[in-house]
Symmetry: D2
Subunit: 261 residues, 4 copies
């Protein structure tokens, strides 16, 4: 008999800006357990953050910061040649700003997940994870750093240990994986999985067996505590709902990272 399993569903939310609306936050927030809230650099603004924090509270979803590069025009998706010190300053600033909106609702932030190019650059350069971990430790030792699950799990765990913070590993159910456990490039055909059944099945397999089928068919071991899901369009929300149902039907509890790590 299997032991009781838990997994976290996280999604990027609060990405509207001023008069510009982006994402179906009202629909996706009730479906997830952790919300990655944009902090005003690549997306989001103070009023959007305030409202999004309110939505997270209303639905009992754990709020986290989703800091990015100061590049609203590029939505934080363009690599920028910034130093680790600048990244640390940008992360501190954005996490602090979001902490204010959490505090005003009587909440504390659960986690921090870097956005877009900042996340991708960190995946290639662990010195960035190290810098971010140091900032979180100095801001609030309870903050969990969300990183990409892959082959370097031990190295990232050591970064967490050095700074006394928890590291959560993230899995993408809608992305193909290389045999070495890294994400297949979006430029490759088949890198993004659009079939809801298939994506939900991959997530279920990961949660239950700790395995994912790489694009060449090999089975690789991968451990992850949180699954990234999307809410930027109706199809994405439908997929997220499907994932939630599949997990629940298999007896897997969806819960915020902070409750089981």
């Amino acid at each position: 008999m299997k032991s009781h399993k838990k997994v976290d569903l996280n999604s990027d939310v609060g990405e509207s800006f001023g008069t510009y609306k982006l994402g179906l936050d009202e629909e996706v927030i009730p479906l997830i357990s952790s919300a990655n809230i944009a902090c005003g650099f690549h997306a989001g603004d103070p009023s959007v953050m305030q409202r999004t924090m309110g939505l997270a509270k209303k639905h009992g979803v754990a709020p986290g910061a989703h800091p990015g590069f100061p590049d609203l025009l590029g939505f934080g998706r363009r690599d920028m040649d910034v130093s680790v010190q600048e990244i640390k300053d940008y992360v501190a600033y954005q996490v602090g700003a979001l902490q204010a909106f959490a505090a005003m609702e009587g909440l504390t932030l659960q986690h921090v997940k870097p956005h877009g190019a900042l996340y991708n650059m960190a995946v290639k350069n662990p010195a960035i994870w190290e810098g971010v971990a140091e900032v979180l430790a100095r801001l609030d030792q309870r903050l969990i750093l969300v990183v990409l699950a892959g082959a370097n799990r031990d190295e990232l765990q050591r970064i967490g240990s050095r700074h006394g913070i928890r590291i959560a590993f993230e899995f993408f159910g809608d992305r193909a994986y290389n045999p070495d456990g890294s994400l297949a490039s979006r430029k490759e055909p088949g890198a993004v999985i659009h079939d809801a059944e298939l994506a939900a099945g991959r997530i279920l397999k990961l949660v239950k067996e700790g395995k994912v089928t790489a694009k060449d068919g090999t089975e690789i071991e991968l451990a992850a505590e949180t699954i990234c899901v999307h809410g930027d369009n109706p199809t994405a929300v439908t997929l997220t709902r499907k994932i939630r149902e599949t997990l629940s039907a298999s007896g897997i509890e969806i819960a915020p990272l902070g409750t089981f790590m």
Copy 2:
């Protein structure tokens, strides 16, 4: 025999941005007791905030937030027709961002003083003070709100009481006052006092006697716990040094607001 008097000296600092340098922070911070640190909207950026917080810590100066309008081009000095809710969101965001840099240095913020047009609009519209006070109370009840000393002291004190936060009143030694206790408009001749002796003398009189000579020669009562001084150019730093010496020579102790309010 007079009792032992204390007063706070505050100055706007951390106003550089990227490659742009503004203000002689290294020189003025050692002379003051409270630092109003720009928070990235009208001036300042994450790296400047980080360095300025370090300077405040080094010199034992109490750090505070100096939030402004999102108008870097106008340095936050241009009135903007924003709602009180937007102001609350902007203040929460900026104070939170600066709290992060304080936390990383093991400090807490002492106070919040709105900047430029935001300050001036609040002086004309107490609903803005009310909104800011509400934000501070929800962020950290220890935060002191710095407002302009004037005839409406009781009204502003009541705002503080309603939200359970302390209100500090600020005096400008280098500005002429109207007989009703309001600041003379900068557009009037003589509105700004450039003579160091005269300015220092006015500050001394305010601290010792609680009085200021209005521009028409009448003596008016005015109570203030903090004096605004400047460090944006060498002349300003010289004046600040003169003020500091005059106060010390008269047995008045210069100390951060939070230590005596």
Copy 3:
């Protein structure tokens, strides 16, 4: 027998920004004769401007600049206390930027219509119209300045004459008018007309008779060469299509301002 009448239909387009989409430009541009293209301050960005200019060219719509305040967060809808000189600099900058995209398509700009708060502030302060007119005259004497039709037609015509540029007067078919020919405030009930038939009828009456029924029922004279229509949502596009059909069915030709002024 009816005389041959012409009128221009203008709409604000090119208001997307980076990853943020706003407005149904692909649907509304084929329906109008003049496009007010956002220039990157309150909305729009260089890539959006380039694409929007291409759409205008494809559909034979006359391109014009829609300059606004440097307030992307507020979509240029918030009054800012800027000087007339600053406004002139902002308008020159934005019009110049859009002229580049027109030049690259072998086009020239037909007109300039200030956006949002800049437009509203100019309606209250003719010194702003005067400053904008001076800029247009120095940039390209062929540029037409689009202003709000109202009681001060002669005054605005004189501004145009002084600077040697044409002034086009604009009518809002979906807005209630005061008996003095000014727009009823959006804060009043009934200020915005949502009924497509009613709006189209008002426009037809204006074009054919030069009259509008004010909110108190009085008939006032109003002359306008261009009608503002909208494309920010499907209902608006439907209304714009209705207006176009009503005008065409009445033998009124829809043509760009520059072809008949």
Copy 4:
């Protein structure tokens, strides 16, 4: 007997922003023949552009655009992973904006020199030069594109020929060169030459003999029509004055690119 030689001196100006002052434009503009004016992305703002254009006109200096990345915080010095199409849009926008200020003074732009990271990325990737050249050709065939002088002169000339625009090659008198004609990295010791005599001598040699001594002592051939000089601090202005005097004393005429290319 020597033939009559001409060379252009160019400098980056108009880099102030709002209340932030940068560079001694009033002092350096009278010393140069071509002004690279920042266009509001990495530095500069509409009012600064208007004033700088006025200074250029007053001193008979040929104005040019100095477009950069949309990164005011990093002063356009940070590589950004933008596409060539985005670069083309950014350049068109900025050049157009500056053309407006030139037109308002009755001037036309002489040249375009990309700034900072945009320039450096183009040096490494000729597809960027190609994209910029295409934009200039479509905006105004008279615009000269300023590029880094080096070993790939023929390749860059061919880009100019393909688009029908002139290419000007730029030399840095205060920078060490590698034996292959490329600039030595700023990270190497000795990469920047601080000695005024030495820098002036290197420029003189380049203009008279078409040669530069590389850092390993080898003499390499290098052809350049324009020399980059600086005005960001008093030492730089002194060096620029020294360069001007050295060139004049040697019978070399300092003249804008457009007058002799």
